[in-house]
Symmetry: C2
Subunit: 258 residues, 2 copies
Amino acid sequence: MIQRPRTRLYVDADLSAGAEVPLEAGRAHYLRSVLRMEPGARVLAFNGRDGEWLAEVAHLTKSGGSLTALERVREQTTEAGPWLLFAPLKAGRTESVVEKAVELGVSRLQPVYTKRSDVTRVNLDRLTANAVEAAEQCERLGVPDVNDGLPLFKALEGWDPRRTLFLAAESGGAGDAVMAVTARKGQPAAWLVGPEGGFDSGELDGLRHLPFVVPVGLGPRILRADTAAFAALALWQALAGDWTGAGGVSRPPFRTEA
Amino acid sequence: MIQRPRTRLYVDADLSAGAEVPLEAGRAHYLRSVLRMEPGARVLAFNGRDGEWLAEVAHLTKSGGSLTALERVREQTTEAGPWLLFAPLKAGRTESVVEKAVELGVSRLQPVYTKRSDVTRVNLDRLTANAVEAAEQCERLGVPDVNDGLPLFKALEGWDPRRTLFLAAESGGAGDAVMAVTARKGQPAAWLVGPEGGFDSGELDGLRHLPFVVPVGLGPRILRADTAAFAALALWQALAGDWTGAGGVSRPPFRTEA
């Protein structure tokens, strides 16, 4: 059994046996100065296309570095999780939504601006960095698309009607989440979670008239927006996603270093 | 339709028509100096026993204040959610676990110390305050029990074997979460979520030998401990808890103030 390196890196370069994988300065600095790695140290690398590779550090300097890919340890799989459309939140809550959405297997993150959004812009570089870090940590083989923020209905223009948009609805009259998700198992899906203040009535009317929108309730308590996102995604994965075993990503055949 | 006051307060006192409800200094200060309330202002009050009451501010001074309970607007219901046993986490993540666990309807929070816990004490007053604030915000009618931290196996001494302890398991060999939860619908339940580093092998062996422990998997990705707690509780509520409509808390018959 091979020792599983603890450090996983998302890289741009193609991965194949013997391939050189450039590291930009920030990455090289992190390996060298924070993790105290030297040439020969083992890491794992993935790029969303070629599976997961065992790699070793070739060189590290102040201005950059490189890895050498050694051996594929996991085959690439399709990560066909749902999309998450969410109104960006205050303080650290947006970062937390990104982190957990990546762990819960979303394939696309789309911030949307709504009437009652307190936050009217997002830092795309920062959200992308959050997504990369979460993907590295949770053992995904790819990083979801992270889109720049859009006004809610702009984000829905040209929507493929085959992709159900589950609306995490606060108020009554919404369908049962378990039934709604189970009934659409195997179909493309997305979740829409509003801001802390909820959608305004005009937005709700507009959403409910879209043929691909399915409002579902998430229980009798009022969930914060971030909680609603976590709950919705967990529910979807458990009932319609890759938690069911079939088609799941198998765990790597080695243990974590102590 | 009555305007629904935005401010909900968890109180100790009994609630009945005309009852005086004392407010301690911190609460009175918050209503007076932060929310700028004056006598006659309307709030909602609940104590976990008498349902939810419309109340009005009777007086507010620097040293305290009181409410007068006016009218019951929701009947008390039993909040029979699962217990959550969790290894306390770093930084704000423990507070976040408490907040979301309350929103997701737990009836008891039990911090447990494990071999790989980075955090070896909790601030019980602070966790309790987090739980109260979350209960006020999410429209619960009670606040879950918040216990002081205990070593893991100490917390399991005298465990009622009729209460299933679902173990959020990282590694393979665990059962399907949906099947395990659905099969035990209607029975008392608890979830156990370990620290970021996972349980050690001795702990896992010990847990797996307990007849009430049911290890379940939460998908192919490695979830952070807080994500695992949110996912587990959401799943349980959706499949075995009060999201199913039957026995759910009905929403109050008035709208939120703009």
